[in-house]
């Protein structure tokens, strides 16, 4: 029988082995010794053979993990800096501008025809 601490009832409650293995609140943000993400990248091809895959054979996930886990206070949608900001501003401009256009169009569409 495994147990976990229920934040809801503030008591120990029954749990599965999986939950006990990954205790809540103690999941590391940075991959530790396990590094399951590197399983694909670390399998070594037989000596003498070329890299098994012609596409993007280098695993850039660990580098990206470092970048996105930087303590710079930036929210996830702006984490990469300039390209994120540009895309965000374009989306905002299109959406906010469009909403105003929409309200104007609906205002005119809802008025009765003016010709006598």
């Amino acid at each position: 029988m495994y147990y976990r601490f229920s934040g809801f009832t503030q008591r120990l409650v029954g749990a599965t082995a999986a939950a006990a293995y990954s205790p809540q609140g103690l999941k590391p943000l940075v991959p530790t010794i396990e590094s399951p993400d590197l399983i694909f990248g670390t399998s070594k091809p037989a000596p003498g053979l070329p890299a098994a895959d012609p596409f993007l054979s280098t695993n850039k996930v660990p580098d990206l993990q470092k970048v996105f886990q930087r303590s710079d206070g930036l929210p996830i949608h702006l984490k990469l800096g300039y390209p994120d900001r540009m895309l965000y501003r374009t989306t905002m401009a299109l959406t906010i501008g469009g909403t105003i256009y929409c309200l104007v169009a609906l205002f005119f569409a809802s008025r009765p025809k003016k010709e006598k």
Binding site: Q24, G25, A52, V61, P75, H77, G98, C102, A105, A109
Partner: protein
């Protein structure tokens, strides 16, 4: 940085939900302006902003999970529930169109000539392209399962091959359906036969396109080493969706194409 004492993911404040809602407003009012005033600008703005929001929102989820590690088993469980509930809601969506089809076809009115297919309608031969499309989708169900097994067995090359094949089969289906639509001797305006046929198969085709796109994104992520043998829920969600699309087609084929011809 203070650590949380729970396994849930408290997301960073994000603009995408509200901007997505605004994009939906633009798209729907854009449809109105296009239908009634022949003006497509608002619709184009709506579709564009919807695409932008979808791209950035899902990009952020990939960042939060693969790069920041926020998708604990608890979070993944929630995502599984979410995807299962979404697919269930889609099943009900299609149920409505099947209801409409059977309502009209089980008791054809005198206006239709008291028969189904109605008088004057020349239905598509179910043993022609529709049968090929059935084979294509069934095969794609096999290849996506092959891809899944390859991922869990850490066989990268096979996984990429299998998923590529799945995506290609999906696009092949769409291309063949588009050709069938173009060549069909009846249109959506041809009474209730045309309406039920094109609305049901049309929404299904849209779902095939959505599913193929989802699988394509998974292929890109697979190539970029995002998935691990134990954690690849994005792929599983795409595979579930794809199987659902396949099952809907089987129902469409049997009821509308075959029984209805």
């Amino acid at each position: 940085m203070a650590h949380q004492a729970h396994s849930y993911h408290m997301v960073d404040p994000s603009p995408w939900p509200i901007l997505g809602a605004a994009a939906a407003l633009l798209t729907t009012s854009g449809l109105t302006m296009w239908f009634h005033y022949n003006s497509p600008q608002l619709l184009i703005m709506g579709l564009l902003s919807t695409m932008l929001v979808m791209f950035q929102w899902w990009r952020d989820i990939v960042r939060e999970s693969t790069f920041q590690g926020h998708h604990t088993p608890t979070v993944q469980k929630g995502l599984r529930y979410g995807m299962a509930l979404f697919i269930t809601s889609e099943a009900f969506f299609f149920l409505g169109f099947f209801w409409a089809f059977f309502h009209s076809s089980l008791a054809p009115t005198p206006e239709l000539g008291g028969q189904w297919p109605p008088v004057g309608i020349k239905p598509l031969n179910p043993m022609d392209v529709p049968l090929l499309n059935t084979a294509i989708l069934l095969a794609s169900g096999v290849t996506v399962t092959w891809a899944h097994h390859s991922i869990t067995e850490a066989n990268r090359k096979q996984a990429i091959h299998a998923l590529t094949l799945t995506v290609l089969l999906g696009f092949y289906f769409t291309a063949l359906q588009a050709m069938e639509y173009y060549e069909a001797p009846f249109s959506i305006a041809d009474g209730v036969y045309g309406s039920t046929f094109f609305v049901a198969t049309g929404f299904h085709g849209l779902h095939v396109i959505i599913g193929s796109t989802f699988l394509l994104v998974c292929l890109a992520r697979l190539i970029k080493y995002h998935f691990t043998p134990n954690h690849h829920f994005g792929f599983e969600a795409a595979a579930w969706y794809w199987h659902f699309v396949d099952v809907v087609w089987l129902f469409l084929y049997i009821s509308i194409y075959w029984w209805g011809s």
